[in-house]
Amino acid sequence: MSAPRRLLCLLVLAGLATSCHRGAGKGDGMTVAMMPKNKGNPYFVSCHQGAEKAAAELGVKLLWDGPTETDAAKQNEVVEAWITRGVDVIAVSVENKEAMSTVLRKARQRGIKVVTWDADAEGDARDFFVNQATPEGIAGALLEHTARILGGKGSFAIITASLTAANQNEWIKQIRLQLAAKYPDLKLVDIRPSDDDRKRAFDETQTLLKVHPEVKVVMAIASPAVPGAAEAVKQSGRTDVKVTGLGLPNASRPYLKDGVLDSVVLWNTMDLGYLTIHVANAVGRQSLKPGQPTFTAGRLGALKVAGDNVLLGTPFTFTKENVDNFDF
């Protein structure tokens, strides 16, 4: 046998030998593996901060990982890795329901508890869903603001994330349903993608204002799209156009103060992360069962539980008046 080949065999044997000493190491505290849709998004970063606080409070070991770009296939692979590694609870913000549900069911079969947060999987694929706001609620809040700005009648347009983004498409679906049912005098003129790029949102809004001068509200439903759209409206000098949407307070603050951005719908993302860890911990210790009416989550107090959904609350609106109370 040649020297390099001998070396090779030796190394593989060494690897196998050392691996025998490593089991699925479980410490005293619970291990919760938490995954956002994408790690590089400030929205999820603030959820992480809340989660870390809860983990510290509860003595939970928190593993935080996920794809660096939204990618349903990668999310699957990360969950598979956690199943192999062995964790107590998996908490996922699901990029894609169908894709993830299979692997989450597998985790449950292996005795790992599964909790979803921010975006749900199929009902039988998880123990609990930490729900910050329903798509119906989000769509309702967005349309309420739009209708108020337009005085009940007029044209608006949507700047979304990417055309394939699951959450945004769900909200748009709800918006269309509610438009038909409750707002017959509002017209949705166009939907343009921003691909989560602020400059793209800026360019699309700029063009939109010229192609459809009748649009008086731009609804930006992705966090980079809010400042992008607001800046475009500001630079165009069109004081008759206002922006609303779904975004983060820090990026929205200057535009809220300035009046271009009327309102931003969201929820407290840090509370969402915090609550998720509390729920995960409780589910792991089997102290939270479906059907109980409330759940007490540390500093958040008693929250409503609807079947297997733990509700953070209703969507919250950031305005010029209250935005300074938040920092994320």
């Binding site: 040649s2 593989v12 196998l16 490593r22 996920g66 990618d71 990360v78 894709a99 498409n169 748009i172």
Partner: protein, 322 residues
């Protein structure tokens, strides 16, 4: 004194040999760092996750051997998956028939690349850059981005999620058959030698009697076919077909091919090298995850590994290309 020893060492070391060594080190490190890295369950998952990229890498090797490149593979994967879903769901075709739509669409897409590269003589980089946008764009256009095809029958999902007796994932025999076929084609047939000759010198190959245009056309069509098959496997693995399926897969395939020692300029390379490169990539991503290391590190290390690989390749090879 040192010079003859270096020459002997160089003679012994092939790129594939060094890569195998690096793989062994990788396995040893991750086995020590991660939990359950060396386990049957993990091995199954590694094979499953690498299924589609593996098929693409095999085809990409053949393309790169001819001195070309195919950047449109990921987009064609997405388009094939979507059209297969549409055939089953919207047209109501039985799944057994619809599943054939994926490779058919792949073949058609590959044919477009083939015509532009072999008949019109356009540079593959630009052609596949254009079709990269075109194929993905068609998938987005048809679905309006919104439409997702799901709810496939269990029998179809078996392709991506099923286990054969012994716990073997379906992807393994599929990959093995594909790998063997490509290996035979590239290393044991005159066609394969022809591909290498084309990569080395297209004019020379033509004068040697090799039907260059035909070979090029077939290599791009094969690439398209693999993308189509990968599209079906992807949809089966995830249980859904969406317009953004396969985004970035072509770059992963190219990474695996280059890691495996195939020269990006063409003319030199091997299928077994690509398989080793694919394994190295898959183990890297998997091992880092099991060691609780962040996902960004995987990307960083992939970049470093790639540069190290071509650096090593350069040191080991005698030939210099301008």
């Amino acid at each position: 004194m040192p010079l003859p020893r270096l020459e002997r060492l160089r003679g012994r070391l092939t790129h594939e040999g060094v890569l195998a060594l690096a793989l062994a080190i990788e396995i040893a490190c991750f086995a020590a760092l991660g939990s359950n890295f060396v386990s049957a369950g993990n091995a199954v998952e590694i094979v499953r996750a690498s299924g589609e990229v593996g098929l693409l890498s095999l085809a990409q090797t053949a393309v790169i051997l001819t001195g070309g490149i195919d950047l449109s593979m990921g987009s064609l994967l997405g388009l094939s998956a979507v059209l297969m879903g549409a055939a089953w769901h919207d047209l109501g075709l039985p799944m057994a028939v619809a599943v054939l739509v994926a490779p058919a669409v792949g073949l058609a897409g590959g044919a477009l690349n083939a015509v532009l590269v072999s008949r019109l003589g356009l540079p593959p980089l630009i052609v596949t850059l254009g079709t990269y946008s075109l194929f993905r764009g068609i998938a987005e256009g048809i679905t309006a981005g919104v439409r997702t095809y799901t709810g496939f029958p269990r029998s179809f999902l078996f392709i991506g999620q099923g286990h054969l007796p012994g716990g073997v994932p379906f992807q393994l025999p599929l990959l093995l058959v594909a790998a063997l076929s490509f290996w035979l084609l590239v290393h044991r047939t005159p066609v394969g030698r022809g591909l290498r000759a084309i990569g080395f010198s297209p004019e020379g190959a033509r004068y040697a009697g090799i039907p260059v245009a035909r070979r090029l056309a077939s290599v791009y069509m094969l690439s398209g076919l693999m993308a189509g098959v990968a599209g079906a496997v992807y949809a089966a693995r995830l249980g859904q077909a969406k317009a953004d399926a396969g985004t970035g897969f072509e770059l992963l395939a190219i990474t695996a091919v280059v890691l495996g020692g195939t020269s990006i300029f063409g003319g030199r390379g091997s299928i077994h090298g690509t398989l080793l490169g694919l394994l190295a990539l898959a183990l890297l991503h998997n091992g880092l995850r099991l060691a609780d290391l962040p996902a960004e590190l995987a990307g960083i290390m992939t970049g470093v590994l790639l540069i190290a690989a071509i650096g090593a390749n350069r040191l080991l090879s005698e030939r210099s290309r301008p």
